[in-house]
Symmetry: C2
Subunit: 190 residues, 2 copies
């Protein structure tokens, strides 16, 4: 996998990075496997995972607690983990050209966040802030590679769903872009 550019920040392990951001570790996310499975039908990513597959997947994740207001993913940061929301509601925000935060999405259990940086190591596109006390599982890039290597069936299933998720988002974003392009010319400043 392509390595991200190095900075002082990306030398931190996901766990240390999350502690720095104010989250607290809760041990292996496998503890929450039943809870995740109970909600899995809600999200396309996990909708057809069996309880055993959810157990396998969560056994590669560490769980964290974030207090209300905790920004556990920071726009522009170079870290490489995906987050699976287990409890609580999360706001996704992005800085606009005027330096104002604008809301991009509201995310609830058991949706995921941060898949892109997990796979491509590029800076975070937006920030994620706990709107109330949250529990979430963290899958780092190195754990994803371990999962693919050690449990290829579950790894391939997760990857296939990620391809579908990104494909769906790309279609939606492209359609919005086409709508704007048909009305306007792009800003010269970007």
């Amino acid at each position: 996998m392509t390595q991200p550019p190095h900075s002082s920040q990306d030398s931190l392990l996901p766990r240390d990075r999350l502690l720095q951001l104010g989250a607290k570790p809760l041990g292996s996310a496998v503890t929450f496997a039943d809870q995740v499975f109970a909600l899995a039908q809600r999200v396309p990513l996990l909708a057809d995972f069996s309880v055993e597959e959810i157990q396998t997947l969560t056994s590669y994740m560490e769980a964290f607690h974030a207090p209300s207001g905790c920004m556990f993913i920071e726009e522009g940061a170079l870290d490489d983990y995906m987050v699976l929301i287990i409890r609580g509601t999360v706001e996704v925000v992005k800085l606009d050209n005027w330096g104002h935060r604008s809301r991009v999405a509201i995310v609830t259990p058991v949706q995921t966040l941060g898949e892109m940086s997990m796979v491509d190591g590029e800076p975070r596109f937006a920030s994620c802030i706990a709107m109330e006390e949250c529990h979430f599982g963290v899958l780092s890039r190195s754990k994803l590679l371990q999962l693919i290597d050690q449990q290829p069936q579950v790894g391939a299933k997760l990857l296939l769903r990620l391809v579908q998720l990104l494909s769906s988002r790309l279609r939606q974003t492209s359609a919005k872009l086409m709508a704007y392009m048909s009305q306007q010319t792009p800003s010269a400043s970007r």
Copy 2:
């Protein structure tokens, strides 16, 4: 995997669909494995595949010849194959709001086309037209699922690269969209 909506068109196998569009079958794409491997460094999707992995991948693909001018992927169509360009240059075009075709990209060996519909079964986003005689390999959704099942290491590697490819495109498209959206006033952009 989610099934696409049914129509008379999507009951055709990829092979029959391609014959209908004017392409001619050339047998298994494994014949072209060395040729693909020789160019694989050019494209992120295949850059670190070994010659054995390219042989495995191409053994799940059927090769086709398209004459100059052949539209072998048609915007809006419901088919579920990805194309790997082996020889020749391909124009990607999309209809705009006024019904004019505008060029989206030029694709050369050994780039891929049509990954999104392969995984999500949604209508083709754009059309692909051979600008000269072309050879290409076709990976259908059913063959992708066979590959994942029978050769999980190669399947997972391909999927991981597809996730990275779509992630990169999504970042680029989102950045363009943000540039257009930034022309709105702050009050309107929420």
